[in-house]
């Protein structure tokens, strides 16, 4: 599998926290993979180039081709404009392909690197060239339409964000509940496919002395504490005490970061 140039890939959108007010959200995506940049800064702040997504020189960081990237604002706008002109409804993208959006559940805090200030500087720098808040205001106006749009474009994580916004105001909204269920199913299937059979037994491959220096949050730390070399993926999911999708995503990230591997 070869890396594709960054310009051919959809760059990720920063995960929007549903609880964050609109005015607190950045209004544009940086033109690079924010998460990959954060990791590379944590691993080697001097060498990382945010524009070069394939320059992951550190062991343990995923290659560009392994990652699922999200559409950016510009592409989303172009797609919306085209769909408004088109007489046919957009076809949902099949799951499992790289075109599916990154499945970060918006309600979870993003793992931070050990040097947040450098990330913030990069984001702020990117924001300086961003378009204005027009798009954000339009999303809030009609979350249901936005939810449907994101779903149809295969942005299941983004659609899930809208689902949570809608259900927070209207818990009885059946359309949102059904859409949320569908999104979770797709995302769970995607992560399950990536992790493989759930009877496989994960193991921690990072030496114990280096555990403290990993770039993970306490939820990932908890999942890691359940990996004991004898419990299968299914058992870890059963005892995680968190929604299955969250646990799958965290486990997938731990595998991606080469913290966990399978026997």
């Amino acid at each position: 599998m070869t890396d594709q140039p960054p310009s051919d890939k959809k760059t990720p959108k920063p995960p929007a926290d549903a609880s964050t007010r609109a005015s607190d959200r950045p209004t544009v995506n940086p033109p690079f993979d924010l998460e990959a940049f954060a990791r590379s800064m944590a691993a080697n702040p001097a060498e990382s180039d945010p524009a070069d997504d394939s320059s992951h020189g550190e062991a343990g960081t995923p290659t560009r081709s392994d990652r699922i990237t999200m559409t950016d604002e510009l592409e989303l706008e172009v797609a919306r404009a085209k769909s408004a002109e088109s007489t046919q409804p957009p076809q949902p993208r099949p799951s499992g392909l790289l075109s599916i959006a990154d499945a970060r559940v918006p309600s979870m805090p993003a793992p931070r690197s050990l040097s947040p200030s450098s990330i913030e500087a990069a984001v702020l720098g990117a924001l300086a060239t961003a378009p204005g808040p027009e798009i954000t205001e339009r999303w809030i106006e009609d979350p249901s339409a936005e939810m449907r749009e994101r779903f149809s474009l295969g942005d299941y994580t983004g659609a899930l964000e809208m689902v949570e916004l809608i259900l927070a105001d209207d818990p009885a909204n059946l359309e949102a509940a059904e859409c949320g269920e569908n999104c979770r199913t797709v995302l769970e299937n995607m992560y399950s496919a990536k992790l493989g059979p759930t009877d496989r037994v994960p193991m921690i491959i990072v030496p114990r002395t280096q555990m403290r220096w990993l770039s993970i949050d306490h939820r990932a730390g908890f999942i890691l504490s359940l990996v004991d070399g004898t419990s299968s993926v299914e058992m870890v999911l059963d005892v995680s005490g968190m929604p299955r999708l969250d646990a799958l995503r965290i486990l997938h990230e731990l595998v991606q970061q080469r913290i966990v591997a399978f026997r």
Binding site: D199, D217, G221, F222, D238, S240, G241, M242
Partner: protein, 608 residues
């Protein structure tokens, strides 16, 4: 000969044993552990978890994980122990339709016997997996202070789990059985049982010909190893809060890890002087920075944290000896039962109190189950003559005029037994009397437990006090109480067997049994599917690994290409069978897969 298993259904952990070729043996579970946590949980996906896996998520899924069901089994909703549990348990406890107790998991109500049945079912599976044969008969142990309702509820739990409970025996008796097995012992022993959730002290006389007589028993149902774990957690939480200003108890994931680590540290300190508690990424700070907990705890610290708990056990021992009118010198042996008795400080406290070193010849975690297994073997083996003399833990009697309780059988009377007393009518021209059978130690009937009641009719119309009614209480070896009432003048009589009430009707028990059977069928079917699927996938993976090499070798011949196509077809059929979860089809495809695998291996081997 039919097999009988002995089950120690503990408050926090259970254990199963059997006598094989004359040797009592504890049966390990699939994980290799000889004890299994007595915990049941229902996950968000509706999956039932029992044992170790339930324990691992007991805090993160606290509302839907049941622990210490033994504290509730057979009790009435109005009892103080149930009120205490309602106030302190993380899972929901509600009143059942028969003034009994129910537990709510994922919006569904379960009786306590049903929950205990799930644990017993798990122990049954452990035994069946080990023996390779179905198991039906069992002896289950209960605390010596359990009343008839609690014993009946335990029997019901066994029945729901598909077990024929041939005997209920007391835990200290089982421990003494295990201690005296194979030896010609005649001693007065103290059984000091400090388990995960409860503490019990019992004094027994072991006589010749295998006679075991429980003289006295007492304890605390809310004092156990988990209380010591809680002290360690408090200590860790306090230290972390001082350092970081964060209360780890507010986060369930952190608390789950703390609980597991505290228990592990406690166990380790039984053999080492200090141990490190290391929990990286235990919590995130307000700045989204992950924090770590790393602290060393030593034995003096643990001793200090648990000192008052240990002292409570000693105080109870003191009181029990006094109640039994015994001196310490009358105790010839002290038997330690329960995991907590591994703690050096506890062993020291017991030795100091009883003024002798406790016996270390029995395994504290296993001896009760072993004793139950020994009793089970004795019951089905006609040649074995062993007599267990137990005591009734509570006084038995009837309610009399003015709401008083008239005792017929005192507390700690050896069973089997029977006692008779003469009563009379309390009103003129009374033609019927209601015999209200009760159990307890209070003079006031309302403060004791109602076991049952019946009416003796047809009495001669006469002034009060002139009709004589003979009431006889009888308790058999199983602890079942029968009460007879007889009009001495007319010889009219009436009786009841006090079938203690567990709070479940026969129909309910039958429904629960069906539910338990269905669950087992589904589980076995699922296990069979998983095993077949894994086997098929293993062979498919091997075939696919060899396929490129084989293709290269044989691709030039028609025979080779045909073989490759057939191999692909076999793999596709196997995958299809797995997708349809068709166990029979998977098994039949495994033959074809194995042949293909052997052929591929042969082809590759020939070219190397």
């Amino acid at each position: 000969m039919e097999k009988v298993i002995g089950i120690d259904l503990g408050t926090t952990n259970s254990c199963v044993a059997i006598v094989e070729n004359g040797v009592p043996t504890v049966i390990p579970n699939r994980g290799g552990y000889k004890t299994t946590p007595s915990m049941v949980a229902i996950t968000e996906a509706g999956k039932r978890l029992v044992g170790h896996i339930a324990k691992r998520q007991a805090i993160t899924n606290a509302e839907n994980t049941v622990y210490a069901a033994k504290r509730l089994i057979g009790r009435k909703w109005s009892s103080p122990q149930v009120k205490n549990a309602v106030a302190t348990s993380s899972y929901r406890i509600v009143q059942g339709p028969h003034a009994d107790v129910r537990v709510v998991l994922r919006e569904k109500e379960y009786s306590v016997s049903e929950i205990s049945a799930m644990v017993l079912q798990e122990m049954k599976v452990i035994a069946e997996d080990y023996l390779g044969d179905p198991v039906f008969k069992t002896v289950i142990t209960v605390p010596a202070y359990f009343n008839d309702n609690q014993r009946q509820a335990t029997k019901d739990a066994g029945e729901i789990a598909g077990l024929d409970v041939i005997r209920i025996i007391n835990e200290p008796t089982a421990a003494a059985l295990s201690y005296g097995f194979g030896k010609n012992v005649e001693k007065t022993v103290a059984v000091y049982d400090f388990g995960g959730g409860t503490f019990d002290i019992s004094i027994l006389e072991i006589g010749s010909s295998g006679i075991f007589k429980v003289i006295a028993t007492a304890g605390d149902t809310f004092l156990g190893g988990e209380d010591v774990d809680a002290r360690i957690i408090d200590w860790l939480v306090h230290g972390f809060k001082e350092e970081h200003g964060i209360d780890l108890r507010q986060d369930r994931m952190a608390l789950q890890r703390l609980k597991d680590a505290a228990e592990k540290a406690k166990c380790e300190l039984s053999s080492v002087r200090d141990t490190e508690v290391n929990l990286p990424f235990i919590i995130s700070s307000g700045r989204n920075e992950a924090l770590h907990l790393q602290r060393t705890i030593d034995r003096p610290t643990l001793d200090q944290l648990s000192a008052d708990l240990i002292q409570r056990t000693v105080d109870i021992c003191q009181q029990t000896l006094a109640d039994a009118h015994l001196e310490k010198r009358d105790i010839e042996e002290v038997i330690l039962v329960g995991g907590m008795t591994r703690m050096p400080k506890i062993q020291q406290a017991v030795a100091e109190f009883f003024e002798q070193d406790p016996c270390k010849g029995v395994h504290p975690d296993e001896c009760v189950a072993l004793g139950a297994g020994i009793q089970g073997a004795a019951l089905i083996d006609d040649k074995h003559e062993m007599v267990l003399l137990d005591v009734t833990p509570h006084a038995l009697g009837i309610m009399t005029q003015g709401g008083y309780f008239e005792e017929l059988i005192p507390q700690n009377t050896t069973v089997p037994t029977h006692r008779t007393k003469i009563f009379t009518t309390s009103r003129d021209h009374q033609t019927a009397v209601k015999i209200v059978v009760m159990q307890g130690e209070s003079e006031r009937a309302e403060e004791n437990e109602l076991l049952g009641e019946f009416i003796l009719m047809g009495l001669r119309r006469a002034p009060k006090g002139s009709v004589e009614i003979e009431v006889t209480f009888e308790i058999n070896a199983d602890g079942i109480v029968s009460v007879h009432a007889k009009d001495l003048e007319t010889s009219k009589e009436q009786s009841i067997e006090v079938t203690a009430s567990s709070g479940l009707t026969r129909d309910e028990i039958q429904n629960m049994m069906e539910g338990a059977k269905d669950y087992m069928v589904e589980r076995r079917s699922s296990e069979e599917f998983e095993a077949a699927k894994q086997e098929a996938e293993r062979i498919v993976a091997e075939i696919e690994r060899l396929l490129p090499q084989v293709e290269q070798i044989v691709a030039t011949s028609d025979f080779g290409r045909d073989a490759i196509e057939k191999a692909r077809a076999v793999v596709a059929k196997a995958r299809h069978a797995v997708g349809k979860r068709d166990v029979a089809a998977i098994k039949s495809e495994i033959d074809g897969l194995s042949r293909t695998q052997r052929m591929f291996k042969g082809v590759v081997a020939k070219t190397h």
